[in-house]
Structures are given as C-alpha cells and as structure tokens.
C-alpha cells in the first residue's frame, strides 16, 4: 500500500505560502506492542503493530481530521505526536522537536485535549485550575489575563468560572479543557474526540470556536473524531487510518470521489406505486408512496423523466454523506489501487 505524498497535492493548502511550514512531519512512523499471553512460565510473546509505516506532513494553519475505526491506531499516533509513546519505527518531528525525547519542551508548544478525560483539577473551581495551568506553563500574568478574558468571552465561561470542575456539565467541562489547552497560546492543538458525548448546541459552539482560533491565531489543529459533522464543518483535509496504516490522505471532495457512493433521489409520490423504472437510476427501496432511487446519471434528466411519468408530491436529492464514504473505506470496499 502506498501512502500519498500529502500536502503538496492537497487542494486545501493554506493560502499564505510562507506560513505553510510543516509543523508535523511523520516519516514511516510505527509502533509495535509486545503482548505476552498464556499462563505463567508458558507465556508466548506476540508482536502487534498498532501503527505501521505512517507518513504525513501537516502544515502550519491546517485543520486536519484524523479518522479511523476503534483500534485502527488513531490514539497511538496521537500519543506518539505528543510524546506519550515512543515510536518503535520511523521518526516524527512536531514543531521541530522529537516528541518522545523533548516531551516537556514540546508540551509548551502544543495544547492537548482528551475528550474522554479532563486535564483540569477535579475538586478545584475552574478559575483555580486555569490559574494553576498558568503557573505550570509559566505564562506571564498579563498575557494570561488577556487570553483568559478573550477565551472567557468566546466560550462563555463566565457563569461557571467559580464552579468546581466536578460539578460542571460535560459541555462546560470541555470548554474549560479547551481554555486550559489554549492559555499558553500553543502553535498546535491536538484534540482527541473533543465533541464526544456533547449535545448539538455544545458541539456547534466548539466547532465555531475552533474555526475562529484557526483563522485568527493561525493555530494548527489536528483532530480525531467519530463525529463526521466535525469533519464536514472543520476539516479541509482528512487522513483515514485503518488497521494501523494510512488508507487515505487528502481533501474532503477527493475522499468522496474515492468511493463511488451514488447520490440518492428520494421521490414522494401522491399514491403508493410499484417501483419506478427509469433509465440512469435504480430503485433501491420502496416504502408506501416514498421511493429511493440511486442515481448513476445526471439527476436533472432523471428528475424530469420521473416527473413526466408519475404524479410527484415531493423530491429530495441526497448527497452521499461522509459517513458512508468512510465506512466504505473501513470495510475495504475500495481496492488499494483505486485510492488515488
């Protein structure tokens, strides 16, 4: 399997050419785990590759989505980028540093948010947690006050700044975590499932916020998620990892193009009827007066023909959603050679 040369071909390269220096460079990155199994004294050792030969470059200012099913190697990659895990193969440089060797220095340059666990102090009011963060990152008091004021306004933290973290709702806590990750003005924000478990409003607040800091501060964002709404709203570029290997790296339109997921025309007839037969489309489902037609051809012609032949109450054209595309990729419907 060949991994693409990303970025250079990417249609979503940031406009500012000079600012587009690479912030992450991974070359042949791999991580093996040795598992010991069986009863004591009769143990067998087995090597499992969580990540294999992953190469990519992320340029300053990009928002990159990192997708993959559970156990595909997403988190292992993120942990190698942040210095938590030491790679067993290949190399990676983040902000010009080698994460596992320069972890503490790198921590000043990046902000990390784990959706599943908080980096705040459970029993302290949010404000105290954020002050503590200021000391740990050694941010000058003036800069801290300025950034905190800005983030408080953007994320509407004011009502719960004095509340102990354990009493915050998930959405509030996530906003607090994002604030803590951004107070030291990191160049790169690494988000591991930041919208997991959030309601629609909280998700949308967080997405708009991320777009804003990316635009205004030029913060590079790398995000793993299972929520394809995040991807469609935020990411100019997606990388898909499957079984430890990079299966796709490119723009969203390209990802759609890799998997021939047809558009679907939903036809509501005035009365139930047998399956519509029309050239350039296949009727895939009939439910009372409603029928689903998969389009293989120009929708305009098909729509005209359906309207001529039948009495139509309503018509909707559904674009293939990214979810279908990604799950097709995960299932391996796309042969390796077709991944252009």
């Amino acid at each position: 399997m060949t991994t693409r040369e990303p970025a250079t071909e990417s249609p979503t390269e940031p406009a500012a050419g000079a600012a587009a220096a690479p912030i992450i460079e991974a070359v042949g990155l791999g991580r093996d785990f040795v598992l010991t199994e069986g009863p004591f004294l009769r143990r067998t050792r087995r090597t499992v590759s969580a990540v294999q030969d992953v190469s990519f470059t992320v340029r300053t200012g990009e928002i990159v989505g990192y997708l993959g099913p559970n156990g595909a190697g997403k988190s292992s990659t993120m942990k190698m980028l942040t210095g938590i895990l030491t790679p067993t193969a290949g190399s990676v440089r983040v902000a010009g540093m080698e994460p596992s060797r320069q972890r503490t220095r790198l921590a000043r340059e990046i902000g990390v948010v784990f959706g599943q666990r908080t980096t705040l102090w459970w029993d302290l009011p949010l404000r105290d947690s954020l002050t503590l963060t200021r000391h740990l990152y050694r941010v000058p008091a003036a800069a801290h006050a300025e950034r905190l004021a800005e983030l408080t306004e953007l994320l509407e933290l004011e009502p719960f700044l004095g509340t102990p973290v354990r009493q915050l709702s998930l959405g509030q806590r996530m906003r607090g975590d994002l604030t803590a990750a951004l107070l030291h003005a990191p160049r790169l924000l690494v988000l591991d499932e930041p919208t997991i478990g959030l309601d629609v409003v909280s998700k949308s607040t967080i997405r708009e916020f991320l777009l804003k800091i990316n635009r205004e501060r030029g913060t590079t964002i790398l995000i793993t998620t299972h929520d394809l709404g995040d991807v469609e709203r935020l990411c100019d570029r997606v990388m898909v990892i499957d079984k430890g290997r990079l299966a796709f790296d490119g723009g969203l339109p390209e990802l759609r193009a890799t998997v021939p997921t047809p558009r679907v025309l939903v036809v509501d007839l005035v009365a139930p009827a047998p399956a519509i037969e029309v050239e350039g489309a296949t009727t895939v489902r009939v439910d009372g007066p409603r029928q689903w037609l998969e389009l293989a051809d120009n929708p305009a012609r098909v729509i005209a023909e359906v309207a001529r032949e039948h009495e139509v109450a309503d018509l909707t054209l559904r674009e293939p959603d990214i979810e279908g595309v990604v799950s097709a990729l995960y299932r391996g419907t796309v042969p390796a050679g077709d991944r252009t």
Binding site: A21, T82, G83, T86, R105, Q116, D123, L132, Y137, P140
Partner: protein, 291 residues
C-alpha cells in the same frame, strides 16, 4: 498574541530552555509545592473528613508505638536493646517512612493513573510527571503519621543514654535525611514496577509497607540472611538500624563491619540515582492504554 505564534518566532517568550540541572531541580521543587498546596486547598473543602482522617492516622501510629512498648515490656530487652532503645529504632523508621509517605506516597497509585489514562494527561504538561504523580491528592492528613513519629523520636533521644558528641549532633539530621531519601527511593522504585506489571501495587507494597514493618524493630532479631538482604539488596537497614547503632555507639550484634553505619548518606544518593534511572527507563517504555 498571534505574532508569538508565527513561524518566524517559534520560541514563545515564556518558554526558556531548561538546561541547567540545578535550575530544573529548583523549578521541580517549586512545582511540587504549588501542586501540593493546590491539593491541600481542595481537601480543605471537607474540613471534617480531613480532621477525622488525620486523627485516625495519628491513632494508628500511636497503636504501633504501643505495640513496640508492649513487646519490649514483655521481653525486657531484645537483641540487647532496652525499651527506649527499641523506641528509638521504631521512631527512626516511622519518621523516615512518614516523610517518604508524605512526599512520595502517591507514587504507588501509578497503576491507577495508567489504567484510567490520567497519566497521559500528566505527560502532556510541561512539568515533570513524577512531581505531578507524587503530589496527586496530596493531603495534610499525612502529617498524622509524621507528627507522632517525630514526638517519639524526640522522646527516645532524650530517654536513651546517648553520648552527644559534636559529631553525633551534626550527623543526626544527615541520618534522618538519608533515611527519608532511602525510603522515598524505595517508594519510587516500587511504583515503577507498575510501568511493567499491571496491578503491581500489592507486590510493590510488600516492599514499601513491608519494609516499614521490618525496620521498626532492631533487625538483629531477624535471621542472618534477612539482615544481609536488607543491608545489601534493599538497603533498608540504613533507615533505622545502622543509624541507631551509631547514635547508641554499639557494635553491630550481627557481626557486620562497623564502618557500614557511616554509609547511610552514600546509600541514599546511590538509591536515589537508581530510582531516577528506573523512572526514566519506565517512562521511555510506557505503553499507555487503549483508546
């Protein structure tokens, strides 16, 4: 704010390099105090629970002390040690372990932090993870062990017949610090076991708490093999036994060379270095958990 983020100025102004080990140590110490203080404030939200816990710990320390007195009271002397001398050995051990528990006690929670993933969050902060781990849930209630031990030590030092030469006066704080350093290093080493073996906390506690129980009595009462292993393998003999021999100016009843009693500080330094190395090795081989 945005210009500090531009690639022309990749080094943010508030991020100087830490190259000098002394400065790094000073900073780690400041971070320790800051985090410990923060945790203290957090537990102070529950003053009743805090005082009850502290009182409970103090009571259990007193009970242990009572046991020493009862054992010696029945036997009269053990291995040639009177009850006050026995109390001295106990107090030296309890103070060293109390200090280690006070400073490093949370390290044996490493396995929990690895399992729940909170260790990962410690690793992405720009302060040493060992400091974060050691201060996690730091609570003033640990003074409940420390204060009775200190009181017992002062009492025993007064009650025992000690020839207070200048050397002994100067050596006493050195011995106390060395003992605490030996215990702290053993705590860290035992905690590191959890990098490699899941749920190793119980096994680790056999060395940490088991070691405490062992050193609370004059080790001459144990078999020869055990005496040698706590002298040369896990050097717990330097926590209470060798210092007590020095303070009381006794020949070693187990027949080991008398020069050993002066090796405490050296043993502490070597053990602390070993703990630091093993901790680094463990970090480098840390596997994290799934998800």
């Amino acid at each position: 704010m945005a210009d500090t983020l531009s690639p022309e100025n990749p080094e943010a102004p508030e991020a100087p390099r830490t190259s000098n080990p002394l400065r790094a140590a000073g900073r780690a110490l400041r971070t320790y105090v800051l985090l410990a203080w923060t945790w203290c404030r957090a537990v102070a939200q529950y003053p009743m629970a805090l005082s009850l816990f502290t009182f409970g710990l103090a009571l259990s320390s007193l009970a242990e002390m009572g046991a020493v007195v009862v054992v010696f009271g029945h036997a009269g002397t053990l291995a040639g040690f009177t009850v006050y001398e026995g109390l001295l050995v106990y107090a030296l051990a309890a103070l060293a372990f109390g200090t280690a528990d006070f400073l490093m006690g949370s390290v044996d929670r490493l396995g929990d932090h690895i399992r729940t993933g909170s260790f990962d969050t410690m690793l992405v902060r720009p302060v040493p993870p060992l400091v974060q781990l050691a201060t996690h849930q730091f609570s003033p209630r640990r003074l409940g062990k420390l204060v009775p031990a200190l009181a017992a030590l002062v009492f025993a030092l007064v009650a025992c017949d000690i020839d207070w030469t200048l050397g002994r006066v100067l050596m006493l704080p050195v011995l106390l610090v060395s003992g605490a350093a030996v215990c702290s290093s053993v705590w860290v080493l035992a905690g590191c076991l959890q990098f490699f073996v899941a749920d190793a906390r119980e096994a680790a506690n056999s060395v940490t708490y088991g070691g405490q129980a062992l050193t609370e009595y004059p080790i001459a009462i144990y078999g020869r093999g055990l005496v040698r292993s706590v002298t040369f393998v896990v050097p717990l003999a330097f926590v209470s036994w060798q210092p007590a021999l020095y303070l009381l100016d006794r020949p070693d009843p187990t027949g080991l060379p008398e020069a050993l009693r002066f090796l405490g500080p050296l043993v502490a330094v070597v053990l602390a270095l070993a703990a630091a190395l093993v901790w680094r090795f463990g970090l480098r081989h840390y596997r994290s958990t799934g998800s």
